[in-house]
């Protein structure tokens, strides 16, 4: 066997021995055996002068390369063995909860839903208008073409503070305030709390509405349909359609009720053929009331630039609680105001 062959054999033998050393002590022994002062490889290097001159350079280079390779392997193996000792000693129960805890809080479902709807209309170019909750009878009723004898004015239907002041029964008076504050074009929505003297599973004495108003040159009923279609698709899903049904409200003419195609079923029926419990088989969900602003409403704010021969407008109003009930399956209006953390915590922070 030539000296070069012997060096190669030593390298492969030592490589295996290093890998097989299972502890720091065993590795030290292995190192001593192959790289120690009296081991074979240094001896070969020291005996190099006894070789024929033409072989010396090649043997020296091979022996040195092998020594460097083995030293590197030993030190790598040392690192492996040492880190193994740390992890064994300092293992954590990774399944314990994080600490200190940083629990998520929650926006109320009404706030989440209100913001989502606001964002839809912000994206369509509407601004957000606000108005007082304790409102003048004048703005709550008179300015909205509500007849002086209309039953909604009765004390059974409206909370009164005094003869001229009520808790607003809808967010519509904000329309009037917005028109007084700004001439057309006007694109606003008015979210807010409203009040009516009812209290049962489907009526709370306070609830939340979002009113919308667009007044400009050339606003049409078709524009109302398109706007509400955009709303319906963003809130209830891309496949939604809207259905406008003629209706009656004092402050709009023509007036419509707007249904959104049910997102829970196909035309009223579930996959298993049973009747959809959400839309009760009709395929449509009643979501809001709307219409073209009645000329009498414009007449009230005529001095602020609202001439029905020059501008037209549409208005709509929807209940935030109702939309959240439909989307999230909330069965009882009272859950919104009980503020039970078991309810609040179901709807994550957004």
């Amino acid at each position: 066997m030539s000296t070069l062959d012997r060096i190669a054999a030593l390298e492969s033998e030592a490589t295996a021995a290093i890998a097989a050393s299972a502890s720091v002590d065993a590795l030290a022994q292995t190192r001593l055996r192959y790289l120690g002062r009296k081991s074979e490889l240094p001896l070969l290097l020291r005996a190099i002068s006894q070789l024929p001159p033409e072989e010396r350079a090649a043997v020296g280079a091979a022996a040195n390369r092998t020594r460097q390779t083995l030293e590197a392997l030993v030190s790598a193996r040392e690192g492996d063995l040492a880190s193994g000792a740390i992890s064994a000693a300092e293992a954590l129960d990774v399944t314990l909860p994080g600490s200190p805890p940083l629990p998520n809080g929650h926006l109320h479902l009404i706030t989440q839903t209100r913001r989502e709807i606001e964002d839809v209309f912000l994206g369509l170019g509407f601004q957000i208008a606000e108005g007082p909750e304790v409102e003048l009878v004048e703005y709550n009723f008179d300015a909205l073409n509500t007849d002086a004898t209309h039953p909604s004015r009765a004390r059974s239907d409206t909370f009164y503070i005094d003869d001229e002041t009520v808790l607003r029964v809808h967010t519509s008076p904000v329309q009037v305030r917005a028109m007084i504050a700004q001439p057309p074009p006007l694109y606003v929505i008015a979210p807010g709390r409203v009040f009516r003297p009812d209290n049962d599973a489907t009526h709370a004495p306070q609830f939340h509405q979002i009113e919308g108003l667009a007044v400009d040159e050339g606003v049409t009923l078709a524009d109302l349909k398109g706007t509400l279609l955009a709303f319906a698709r963003q809130i209830f899903g891309d496949q939604r359609e809207v259905l406008l049904r003629p209706h009656f409200f004092p402050f709009t003419e023509p007036s419509v009720e707007v249904d959104v195609s049910c997102f829970n079923c196909q035309a009223g029926y579930l996959r298993d053929g049973s009747r959809c419990p959400l839309c009760k088989g009709s395929g449509w969900l009643e979501v809001l009331g709307a219409g073209m602003v009645d000329p009498n409403v414009f007449a009230y704010v005529a001095e602020h630039g609202y001439d029905p021969e020059r501008v037209t407008g549409f208005a709509f109003g929807m209940g935030i609680e109702r939309i959240a009930m439909l989307r999230h399956g909330v069965p009882d209006l009272r859950l919104y105001f009980d503020n039970d953390l078991r309810f609040l915590g179901q709807f994550g922070a957004r």
Binding site: P100, E133, V134, L167, Y187, P205, K225
Partner: protein, 798 residues
């Protein structure tokens, strides 16, 4: 409004099934609330029978065995339990296979050993009334075997329509038929009042009617009938009433109800012989007057009540309910039939006050057309002549008359497309308006349209006509477009943005948002220990609250937060961290003084962990949240200690932002927490509107130095009466501009520093923008700091 479709289809019969018909009308504005079937499912196996023989039942005393001719070759045997069954009677028979209204299907059955091949029916079993005492005996019946349905409509689909308050003309079968006609183009039969056997020449028996208040009674019409025979109504009429949800009583009363259902105009029949003095006056009630109505109740008249009086006083409440005194009875032979128009708002108020809502008042309160009165009288006259043996006296009483003709309205075709966003050809507009009963005149682009009398209240303007055209042409055909949005820019205002950021800051720190009630208990100010003269007692009070405990508007968010905390502890929560963002209210001269408040409340242990103590819900925990919120507003927070009755003495403060008062913070007073069953609780409430006004809209860049700071720690002992803020302010003022920041990092109270003292430790950082400071350069500021601290009683700790 319940509409039996069989009845409806006698006036307008489009080729549509009931469900499709209901859906079509829904799309044109008459909304289908529900659709159901009334009575027998099919008319099959119901026939006219003639009883040929009646024998006692061999095994039952109360049963009879009848031989009944049902038009087949052989008569059939039917066992019958009715006491009134007798040979020779024409009767209504259900044969095996008949599906009864209650859902049963009749089969051949043995009754006590005798086979029965059908059933002889009572009024109740035919859904004609409640009478189940015996079988129905048919008079003038056709031959045996004739399908019973030819005599009595046995069943009908019924559609319940929602009628909007602007359409009282749709509160009747013929009115719905008009809508069906316009909406489907199916032909409309001539109205039932086209033939009027009554007359307008004559004094109608010289009955005198006077109307004292024409504003409340625009029209009063009446006719007089003699030789009236009170008896049962014809079966077809009973069947229609029952299908439409009314109860048959007797021919005269049934006819008034029937006419109301067909024409929409309520009628009232007086027994003319019971009208004292033989004349009627319509006037306001007088204090002290009372009236007994048909239902047996007695009401105080009063001035807001409109009454119809005879010589003995009120005998009927106008438009709502007749009086007991002049009611039609079995003995009645002379009838005064009234058809009047009343002021809708007045009827509505009265009905509400008396708690008396009737089919009549529900129609009158919407405001009927005076033109409907004579239509109703015409139909009623025909029916009374035919079915009550009556003779109508010549003449028709008419006080008030029909009123002015509806004025023509201009309809510009340009306005239609301008409002709807789609073109509707003029020929189509004319077709729609004509089908709805409008008279249309004029030429291209400008039409002159006159509403029929029954639409005069609801169609008065061009825009009302456009609505008619739009709804009949089909809103489903409208394109979906977006408005022009000239100059529109959708964005939140800075205060709206801040509100969202503040709410998000609290939610991100683990607080859950509640939505409390705006209403609260007038006892809340006492429960929160407000001083007697506290401005917070200046609350908004509701005149007509749902209950006394919900009769004021909340002057603070603290009550809602405490209520929610207590409720959650009652449900087993161990610690609660809540906030609310909402309106609070104080009384003001006009409207109310409202602001958007933000409040947070911590109660019980927070953030429990397996490797540390839970955070206490103490003052500093609440303050940390306040710092977070004020931080998102980009303004500087400071607290000024202040004793407030609902907070723990010495643990409460006024919240200042940029030196403006924005709210209050503190540990809740132990008496208050006890009242809400809570342990250690801290809270704050701030006025977000004020905070928003302080927040910078745009934050401008401040240059910072790349040079290293010099850091120095300082430990001092001060009397506990000196606040940390005073110490920091003293240092800051003494040190001069090179002191860049001070951070308090430790507080110590204990034996080593002597009683009544507190030790504070602070990090100080010095830096200048233009060069690196040397330690020597700090000598001067440090000396100044030490001197200033000495003046407030502070000493340096070794």
């Amino acid at each position: 409004m319940l509409v039996p479709t069989r009845w409806l289809r006698t006036y307008c019969d489009p080729p549509l099934e009931t469900v499709a018909l209901a859906a079509r009308l829904t799309l044109t504005g008459t909304k289908d609330e529900r659709t159901y079937h009334h009575g027998a499912k099919t008319p099959d196996h119901f026939v006219v029978g003639v009883v040929r023989d009646v024998q006692p039942h061999p095994n039952a005393d109360r049963l009879r065995v009848c031989i009944v001719d049902v038009g087949e070759t052989d008569p059939v045997t039917i066992v019958c339990g009715a006491p009134n069954v007798a040979a020779g009677q024409s009767v209504a028979v259900a044969l095996p296979g008949a599906e009864l209204a209650d859902g049963r299907t009749l089969t051949v059955a043995k009754l006590r050993g005798v086979e029965s091949n059908g059933m002889i029916l009572s009024e109740q079993e035919l859904a004609l009334g409640a009478d189940h005492s015996g079988i129905l005996v048919l008079s003038d019946a056709p031959a045996p075997g004739t399908p019973l349905d030819q005599l009595i409509p046995l069943g009908s689909d019924v559609i319940e329509f929602e009628i909007t308050p602007n359409r009282p003309d749709c509160l009747c079968i013929y009115g719905i038929a008009r809508e069906v006609h316009a909406s489907t183009n199916a032909p409309l039969a001539t109205p039932p009042w086209a033939q009027d056997p009554g007359s307008f020449d004559g004094d109608a028996g010289a009955v005198k009617i006077s109307v004292d208040c024409p504003d409340l009674c625009p029209r009063f019409t009446a006719r007089v009938f003699e030789d009236v025979t009170i008896g049962p109504s014809p079966l077809w009429l009973k069947a229609r009433l029952v299908a439409a949800g009314m109860r048959p009583i007797s021919n005269v009363v049934d006819i008034t109800n029937y006419v109301m259902l067909v024409t929409g105009q309520p009628l009232h029949a007086f027994d003319l012989d019971q009208i004292a003095g033989g004349e009627l006056t319509v006037r306001r009630g007088r204090p002290g007057e009372t009236i007994e109505t048909l239902d047996g109740h007695t009401h105080n008249a009063g001035e807001d009540l409109l009454v119809i009086c005879d010589a003995d006083g009120p005998t009927s409440i106008a438009g709502i309910m007749g009086g007991a005194r002049s009611e039609v009875s079995a003995q009645t032979t002379r009838v005064l039939l009234e058809a009047a128009t009343w002021n809708g708002a007045n009827i509505q108020r009265t009905a509400l006050r008396l708690g008396l809502r009737s089919e009549a008042s529900a129609r009158f309160e919407k405001g009927l057309s005076p033109g409907q009165t004579l239509e109703a009288l015409a139909v009623a006259t025909s029916l009374l002549l035919e079915h009550a043996g009556a003779r109508v006296l010549p003449g028709t009483i008419d006080v008030g008359g029909p009123g002015p003709e509806p004025a023509p309205i201009t309809l510009r075709s340009a306005q239609i497309s301008r409002l709807l966003g789609t073109e509707i050809p003029e020929v189509r507009c004319v077709e729609i308006l004509t089908s709805l009963g409008f008279a249309v005149d004029g030429d291209a682009d400008v039409l002159s349209v006159t509403p029929p009398h029954f639409r005069r209240g609801d169609v008065t303007r061009e825009v009302d006509l456009i609505e008619e055209v739009a709804r009949m042409d089909g809103l489903d055909r409208l394109p979906a477009t977006l408005p022009p949005r000239n100059g529109a820019a959708g964005r939140l205002t800075p205060p709206q943005q801040l509100r969202r950021r503040a709410e998000d800051a609290l939610a991100a720190r683990g607080l859950s948002e509640i939505v409390g009630w705006s209403f609260t208990d007038p006892a809340l100010p006492d429960r929160l220990r407000y001083e007697a003269d506290s401005p917070l007692r200046n609350v908004v009070t509701i005149e007509n609250p749902l209950s006394q405990s919900l009769s004021i508007l909340r002057p603070t968010l603290l009550g809602s937060l405490l209520d929610a905390a207590r409720a959650n502890f009652a449900h087993g929560a161990r610690g609660v961290r809540l906030f609310e963002s909402g309106t609070v209210y104080r009384a003001a001269d006009i409207l109310a003084d409202e602001h958007h408040g933000l409040g947070a409340l911590l109660s019980g242990p927070g953030g429990e962990s397996w490797r540390g103590d839970p955070a206490a819900s103490d003052f500093y925990a609440a303050k940390a949240l306040l710092e977070a919120v004020v931080g998102v507003a980009g303004v500087e927070l400071s607290l000024v200690g202040e004793n407030l009755p609902w907070f723990h003495p010495g643990r409460a403060a006024i919240v200042m932002a940029n030196n403006t008062r924005i709210g209050l913070i503190g540990e809740v007073h132990p008496q208050v927490t006890a009242a809400w069953d809570l342990e250690l609780t801290s809270a704050w409430t701030i006025n977000l509107d004020i905070l928003a006004g302080l927040a910078p809209e745009v934050i401008h860049f401040t240059a910072f130095s790349g040079l290293p700071p010099l850091r120095e720690d300082l430990a001092i002992v001060v009397p506990a009466s000196v606040t940390a803020a005073e110490v920091i302010e003293t240092i800051r003022r003494a040190a001069g501009p090179s002191l860049e920041s001070i951070e308090l990092f430790d507080v110590y109270i204990g034996d080593q520093i002597g009683e009544g003292n507190v030790s504070l430790a602070l990090h100080l950082e010095y830096r200048t923008a233009d060069r690196t400071l040397t330690t020597q350069e700090l000598d001067a500021p440090k000396a100044a700091i030490h001197q200033a601290l000495a003046q407030i009683g502070a000493t340096l700790r070794a």
